[in-house]
């Protein structure tokens, strides 16, 4: 596999006066409580992971668990207290100011939770802003920004000020702005959480459509498990600065690494997460019905079909080869019974 786009090695972020020294003394064993007693707040605690090209990593966790702080470290809006961060093989913390600015101008885009639009600029000026900062001619940057306006469906409002837009529209501007420089890496910090459910769904669909087209490497923060499931290739779950588990949605639900993750995923509707493959029996009996289902189908999509069957259903792979079977009662158990007494 090619080099990961983002790579973190034992990243720490600790707020406070003598955070650096305390981190050194602790030898990497950071205990939030002891640090707090000494006036330090632990933001990120020993985070190591990789994100490969075109992948979407969703970061989840309760409020204050350090999601934003992690993102800020990787975009170097704050300097990590310890650890190493590589962006496409470049050591982020070793970059000087100029290189960092170059990196941000060409490679990174970020969408903020509270939109963070410039209040004195119109929609199109806001979107053109990163381009103008790069030194692109006004006319070209405005033209490019107009394309972006169309992309996010705000045509006709390009001369509005942020204060004249609804929350959803403002966030579209934020998204368009972060995309204007055509970054390879895209950070989104709870981009949709300020929006109402209807608009949020609309934006999620639009976001998927965009990602389908653009294939960026994405780190996406959210509070909303449904949203995570809909978007994520992999999910990271954070608690008190520690990444408790980082895995595919199915694995997180099926094999929670810690008690916390299990609690966290308890309410998640399994049928939305799990694939047929995850619950099928690999032993095949001869007593199979006529229906065949693909092994990487999400249960929710085929549950109805399977439930009309009386016999077990054959599970096939992409080559139409039977790889296992599934019994309708298994489906019923997964959908209705599986939540409380998880195995």
């Amino acid at each position: 596999m090619s080099e990961p786009v983002i790579k973190c090695e034992a990243v720490y972020k600790i707020f406070g006066e003598n955070a650096k020294k305390m981190l050194q003394d602790s030898n990497g064993n950071v205990d939030a409580k002891t640090f707090q007693e000494n006036g330090c707040i632990v933001g990120v605690n020993n985070a190591s992971f990789e994100v490969s090209k075109g992948e979407m990593l969703v970061v989840m966790g309760l409020s204050g668990s350090g999601k934003s702080t992690l993102l800020r470290c990787i975009s170097r809006l704050t300097d990590a207290t310890g650890g190493k961060i590589f962006i496409e093989g470049q050591d982020l913390l070793q970059l000087n100011n100029k290189e960092l600015i170059e990196l941000r101008r060409n490679k990174m885009g970020m969408v903020f939770q509270s939109f963070a639009l410039l209040p004195h600029k119109t929609v199109v000026e806001n979107i053109a802003f990163p381009l103008q900062i790069k030194g692109i001619k006004t006319e070209d940057s405005i033209n490019k920004a107009m394309d972006m306006v169309k992309l996010v469906g705000l045509d006709g409002r390009e001369n509005y000020f942020p204060r004249e837009l609804s929350g959803g529209q403002q966030q579209r501007v934020g998204i368009a702005r972060s995309l204007a420089v055509e970054p390879d890496i895209w950070f989104l910090d709870e981009p949709f959480s300020a929006l109402d459910p209807l608009i949020r769904k609309e934006m999620q669909d639009e976001f998927l459509r965009l990602q389908d087209k653009l294939q960026k490497t994405i780190m996406f923060i959210t509070h909303d498990f449904d949203e995570a499931l809909k978007l994520a290739d992999r999910i990271a779950i954070m608690k008190d600065g520690i990444i408790e588990q980082l895995d595919t949605p199915a694995n997180i639900v099926l094999n929670p690494a810690t008690e916390y993750v299990r609690k966290f995923t308890e309410e998640v509707p399994r049928e939305k997460v799990l694939l047929i493959e995850d619950v099928m029996e690999s032993s095949t009996t001869d007593n199979l019905g006529d229906l065949k289902v693909l092994k990487d189908e999400i249960i929710e999509n085929v549950a109805e079909k399977i439930l009309t069957q009386e016999k077990s259903v054959a599970v096939i792979d992409n080559n139409n080869k039977i790889v296992g079977s599934i019994n309708p009662t298994k489906i019923i158990n997964t959908v209705f019974g599986g939540r409380k007494n998880n195995n």
């Binding site: 170059e102 963070a116 410039l118 004195h120 199109v124 802003f129 900062i133 702005r177």
Partner: protein, 717 residues
């Protein structure tokens, strides 16, 4: 006992008052005490005691220390004065190259710096002045007198007034639109045909140097303070004192450092105008949401771009208020600095006031106010201007304003040229209307004033007598009757009750400074006038504000009125009151009241407006009527903001009381005015200024602390 437990604060206050009055009655007025008037204080008197400190002799009338503290700080003004002179004339002599004499000379460093600054400022002012009015100093600065003698064509003729008028209208049009253009044009035409052109342009050239410089310095220092905690800490106390320092008082040291003239006026204006600009810049930058800054960073801004493309524009609102303040202060100073020889409308205004020519004063005052409003509106429009990227403009459309301006320049020159034939024997009215040849309404106003005086003399006089005899004199006597110790106890006790030990100490220090200065009695007089003004202003302001708030339109209208009134230079307020009440304390007090009512009204409306709409609805739903809503919900919530208005009211009132010295009062202001014409007055003027500033700061501290507590209590930020 039950009661005491229920209202502990109330009883603490009562106790404080009882102690205060007990002290007042227990300490008798010494028999020898009289409120010493005027010059007598400088006369040597065998009854005086004296002490020597730092080689300065301080003489004073000694009283019981409970009655009046001895002036232990009496040496301070003399010491400041001597230090200033030492700095100017002896400290750190350096060698420098003299262009004129072509040789090295030695001069003290400070003097040299002051000379260089002076030359620079003078150059800037002359440059603008000569573009507007004509002259040759600027050309000479680049060449020499000999050169100009040989090339007399190079002397700048100045722009004909028609061009300036049309130019400002076009500029206003470009910035804002038809309305402002019309206003700009009318103002300029008015100035011209009323014969105020020359002084107006002199004032304008002064402003056009002072305002941008103040803006740049204020913004720069504000940014520096925003970026570095240490700079902020160093600046903060100076800013605080400068906020409450009367503008008069700054004049005096400036006189020593920079001499007399427009350049000194510009420097002094900067000293006064920069602090509010700094404060507002810091305030604005602080209020920027951190995410906006991060968004700027992620867009790849370097530090410079971040500051000028993200931070400053985002903080625009507060910075604009700063600009507005700068312009206000500049115009105010344009008048006041006439005392130290600034030319222009201010000089004319003071002269007219001095001669009691109310009509002339009114005309000059009106001109200043009009220009002030115009500049204020134009700067506002400039900051709010938007670019249009999408119009597919032709060359003509794109450059239409410049083309228009070129056309007016040509037409203006042609007209001026034609004028030389038209008005062969008299003045060329198409070039410039001379000062005394314009239309003047002065006679009309003067006659009006006379008429008012003749007709209403009896009533005015009766009112005047009543006010002075039955209200002011007793009030003043009461203030002077307070023993120093009683006053101290009252103020410090109030500080303790409001803000705890910290506030008490601060307030105590400030009060002691005044008490140990030689001017405690004068300070009491200042305090009495300010108190009277503040009380009346607050009553008027709170009432008017509350009434106007009942209706959206009247509230906006009133705020607009406040805006305009605030733009008037403070001296202008003296004109109408002198029209009505002549030279009396009443005049000063009424000017104080009018001036100080502005912030009282404004903050009342703003405070009431800041009450969340949700609460209104909630209150209405729970069946509260309008009056109950006002007293039960809106007033309590708006009260902290209204108290900040009280703070401003006090500062405004103090400023006006001090300016009132020009009419003739017996307080600190009178001494500042006197110090202006005293060769050794610098130290005195400065110390007096500090005393006034401290009076303001005492109230400032008390009110702010109270407001903070109250806000926390109410849970509003």
């Amino acid at each position: 006992m039950e009661l005491i437990k229920k209202y502990p604060k109330l009883f603490q206050w009562l106790f404080l008052l009882i102690v205060f009055f007990a002290l007042c009655f227990a300490i008798d007025v010494p028999e020898t005490y009289k409120f010493i008037r005027g010059q007598a204080e400088f006369v040597k008197d065998p009854n005086q005691s004296s002490f020597v400190f730092l080689g300065k002799e301080v003489r004073y009338y000694a009283f019981d220390v409970f009655w009046r503290l001895p002036p232990l700080l009496g040496w301070l003004p003399i010491w400041i004065n001597d230090s200033l002179f030492f700095l100017m004339n002896e400290w750190m002599p350096i060698e420098f190259w003299n262009e004129d004499t072509q040789e090295y000379r030695t001069r003290p460093l400070v003097l040299q710096i002051s000379r260089n600054l002076t030359a620079f400022m003078t150059f800037l002012i002359e440059l603008i002045r000569e573009i507007l009015l004509g002259g040759l100093e600027t050309i000479v600065a680049f060449t020499s007198w000999d050169w100009i003698d040989k090339n007399p064509w190079a002397e700048l003729p100045g722009l004909p007034w028609t061009i300036v008028a049309a130019g400002s209208a076009i500029l206003a049009y470009k910035l804002s639109g038809k309305g402002l253009a019309l206003f700009a044009g009318l103002v300029m035409v008015y100035i011209s045909i009323f014969g105020q052109w020359k002084p107006s342009m002199q004032t304008l050239s002064f402003i056009l140097v002072a305002a941008p410089l103040s803006f740049i310095f204020g913004l720069g220092l504000g940014i520096a303070a925003f970026k570095s905690k240490r700079v902020e800490k160093a600046l903060y106390p100076i800013l605080l004192v400068m906020q409450t320092m009367p503008q008069y008082a700054v004049l005096v040291p400036a006189l020593v450092l920079f001499g007399v003239g427009d350049h000194a006026a510009v420097i002094i204006t900067m000293v006064v105008a920069v602090p509010p600009m700094i404060l507002l810049t810091i305030l604005g930058l602080r209020a920027i949401p951190p995410e906006v800054i991060e968004a700027g960073r992620m867009s790849g801004c370097n530090n410079w771009q971040l500051m000028f493309k993200v931070l400053i524009p985002t903080a625009r609102r507060d910075i604009l208020i700063g600009v507005n303040q700068v312009i206000m202060v500049c115009f105010s100073m344009a008048v006041i600095s006439a005392f130290i020889g600034a030319k222009g409308l201010g000089f004319n205004l003071l002269l007219a006031l001095n001669q009691l020519n109310i009509g002339l004063a009114l005309e000059a005052g009106l001109c200043i106010s009009l220009i002030a409003i115009l500049l204020d509106k134009m700067s506002l429009a400039w900051a709010n201007k938007q670019t249009d990227y999408f119009g597919n403009l032709t060359f003509y459309q794109r450059n239409k304003n410049i083309l228009f301006f070129v056309a007016t320049v040509i037409i203006g020159i042609v007209l001026a040229y034609v004028g030389t034939f038209l008005f062969k024997d008299s003045y060329n009215y198409l070039f410039e209307v001379p000062h005394n040849k314009g239309i003047s309404t002065a006679d009309f106003w003067n006659k009006g004033v006379d008429w008012i005086f003749d007709t209403f003399f009896v009533y005015i006089k009766a009112f005047n007598t009543w006010l002075i005899q039955d209200v002011l004199q007793p009030m003043r006597a009461l203030y002077l009757r307070m023993p120093a110790v009683a006053t101290l106890v009252l103020v410090v006790g109030a500080g303790y009750l409001i803000g705890g030990i910290r506030s008490a100490l601060v307030v105590c220090g400030l009060t002691l400074f005044i008490a140990f200065s030689p001017w405690w009695d004068r300070a009491l007089v200042t305090a009495y006038m300010a108190t009277f003004g503040v009380i009346v202003s607050c009553i008027i302001g709170f009432t008017v504000g509350t009434l106007c708030f009942q209706n959206k339109h009247s509230a906006s209208f009133m705020l607009g009125v406040c805006d305009i009134f605030q733009t008037f230079p403070s001296f202008v307020y003296l004109i109408p009151v002198m029209m009505l009440f002549g030279i009396t304390d009443t005049s000063v007090l009424i000017a104080v009241i009018v001036y100080a009512t502005i912030p009282a009204t404004r903050y009342t409306i703003e405070g009431l407006r800041s009450v969340p709409v949700g609460l209104h609805d909630a209150a209405t739903m729970s069946g509260v009527n309008k009056f109950q809503r006002l007293t039960k919900i809106e007033f309590p919530l708006a009260f902290p903001h209204m108290m900040l208005g009280l703070n401003q009211t006090i500062v405004f009132a103090l400023f006006m009381v001090i300016i009132g010295a020009f009419i003739g009062t017996e307080d600190l202001g009178q001494y500042i005015l006197k110090a202006l014409s005293d060769k050794k007055g610098a130290g005195i003027g400065f110390t007096l200024g500090i005393c006034v500033a401290f009076i303001g700061l005492i109230f400032d501290n008390l009110i702010r602390t109270w407001v903070e507590k109250r806000k926390k209590h109410l849970g509003i930020n």
